[in-house]
């Protein structure tokens, strides 16, 4: 049994919060560079160049890539051979968020109650998903989620007879309706199957995959490629000002479901597709 002090998790979370918000991942920058070459619209090309420049300024001046430093979302894989000591893991994660958002001069965007709307002033609580896995490690994935894109996300319970075409139409329509609002070029996360909540979590988790990666299942990989082509043919383009780079990637994940249903969730991420992971 390996013992891990939750203080180590707190410190790791603090650092992840700052790192993810200040430094855009190499996968995203590479996707920008490829898109800039292929973009047909001169305005679109200029916008992508500016996004690359923005990431450089953020890195050099150590300031956030985007002012919306997001709601703090974590996917935690806990090895079942790990014994957590020194306190409660969820409290440690929230304390790490508190420290990271303060020390990194990140925006505190969370309100205590969705209707009363008083700011918690420390960006907590975080949203945390735990998975028990074999082994003696803990993997922490952090993905700050801005709400310009979160607000454009949708779920729908399709009929089994709607099939793959129903899924494709729903995802494409969701992106079309979102238009310029979620800060294209976007990354589109799609969760298919499970229950309504499972599909939504799958869609969100798929956004933490490196941009350009594909689902291992052949039929899902084909759907990813087809959706990316269809979405980029919508003409929305960078910032919705026209062009053929509406999405940088489409990530699809699936889960077994009930004979009566076909849940689909679309979670949209803006171009600041921030995600960082670390294994303790």
């Amino acid at each position: 049994m390996r013992r891990i002090d939750v203080k180590e998790i707190e410190n790791t979370v603090r650092n992840l919060c700052i790192k993810a918000n200040l430094y855009l991942g190499e996968d995203v920058i590479k996707a920008f560079e490829q898109a800039e070459k292929k973009e047909a619209s001169p305005v679109g090309k200029e916008i992508i160049k500016n996004l690359i420049k923005n990431a450089e300024i953020a890195k050099n001046e150590e300031m956030p890539i985007c002012q919306d430093t997001g709601m703090a979302v974590f996917f935690i894989e806990v090895g079942q051979e790990v014994q957590l000591v020194g306190g409660n893991i969820s409290e440690a994660i929230n304390e790490g968020v508190r420290r990271g958002y303060k020390d990194g001069y990140l925006r505190k965007s969370v309100v205590k109650d969705p209707l009363i709307r008083e700011n918690t002033k420390d960006n907590t609580p975080a949203i945390i998903y735990y998975d028990m896995v074999p082994g003696e490690n803990i993997k922490i994935t952090f993905a700050p989620k801005g709400f310009g894109s979160e607000n454009m996300s949708k779920t729908k319970m399709l009929k089994p007879s709607d099939g793959v075409n129903g899924v494709i139409d729903f995802v494409t329509k969701t992106v079309m309706d979102a238009g310029p609002n979620p800060c294209p070029p976007i990354v589109v996360g799609v969760g298919i199957g499970g229950t309504i909540d499972k599909a939504a979590v799958l869609a969100k988790k798929s956004l933490t995959r490196p941009i350009g990666s594909h689902n291992e299942k052949e039929h899902l990989r084909e759907i990813e490629e087809m959706l990316l082509r269809k979405i980029n043919n919508l003409g929305i383009g960078p910032q919705g000002l026209g062009g053929n780079t509406t999405a940088l990637a489409v990530h699809v994940e699936s889960f077994p479901t009930h004979i009566a249903g076909l849940p689909v969730a679309v979670n949209i991420n803006c171009h600041a597709a921030r995600h960082e992971e670390i294994i303790l």
């Binding site: 002012q67 925006r107 919705g240 000002l241």
Partner: protein, 188 residues
């Protein structure tokens, strides 16, 4: 693509010179305000009370910046999505607001109000928050400090980069440009 330099106050005369598609660099004073601040501004108008700044010929930037690091006037400061302010915009246009900076679509009610009152809607690059912050030279909270990132700030900007997306005649770049690049599957 035409590049135009404009300085505030944004008079009606200047508004009439701006066309959808123009790239602009804005200099002078602009004010920040997003969701919660807009709700308070409208509440103030409805009660017949004085607004915390002169709205006539002013530009409001929809932004909630990150906290400023020591020695800096402001943190990262990109635009937030504008449609959330749609239900709260027309009363400000009626008070003489001539410019709005944000990102994304506006509803027909806002566009009609812009045409009627003579106003322009600029888009800044969403997410390019570090780049945009470079054009903000001074920032000061002037109202609703308790709202934190949503407080109303008075900004002094130099060559703030934006694009005219909807002009005072209602020409809408989001509609015209998308059509140019949309491809049907049969084209493949």
């Amino acid at each position: 693509m035409t590049i135009k330099k404009i300085t505030t106050p944004l008079t009606k005369e200047k508004v009439e010179n701006l066309k959808a598609g123009d790239t602009v660099y804005i200099s002078g004073t602009i004010y920040t305000g997003r969701d919660a601040a807009h709700a308070r501004l409208i509440d103030t108008i409805n009660k017949g009370e004085e607004l915390p700044f002169e709205v006539k010929d002013a530009i409001i930037y929809y932004v909630g910046p990150t906290p400023a690091k020591p020695g800096k006037p402001i943190g990262s400061a990109g635009p937030t999505t504008s449609y959330r302010m749609d239900d709260l915009t027309v009363p400000l246009l009626e008070k003489g607001l001539t410019g709005m900076i944000g990102k994304g679509l506006r509803n027909q009610k806002v566009i009609d109000g812009m045409k009627r009152e003579g106003a322009v809607y600029f888009a800044a690059i969403g997410g390019a928050a570090a780049l945009i912050a470079d054009s903000i030279k001074k920032a000061k909270i002037i109202a609703y400090e308790d709202l934190g990132p949503e407080a109303v700030r008075k900004l002094e900007v130099e060559d703030f980069p934006a694009i005219v997306v909807i002009d005072h005649e209602g020409n809408n770049l989001y509609e015209t440009e998308r059509e140019k690049y949309a491809k049907s599957e049969e084209d493949k």
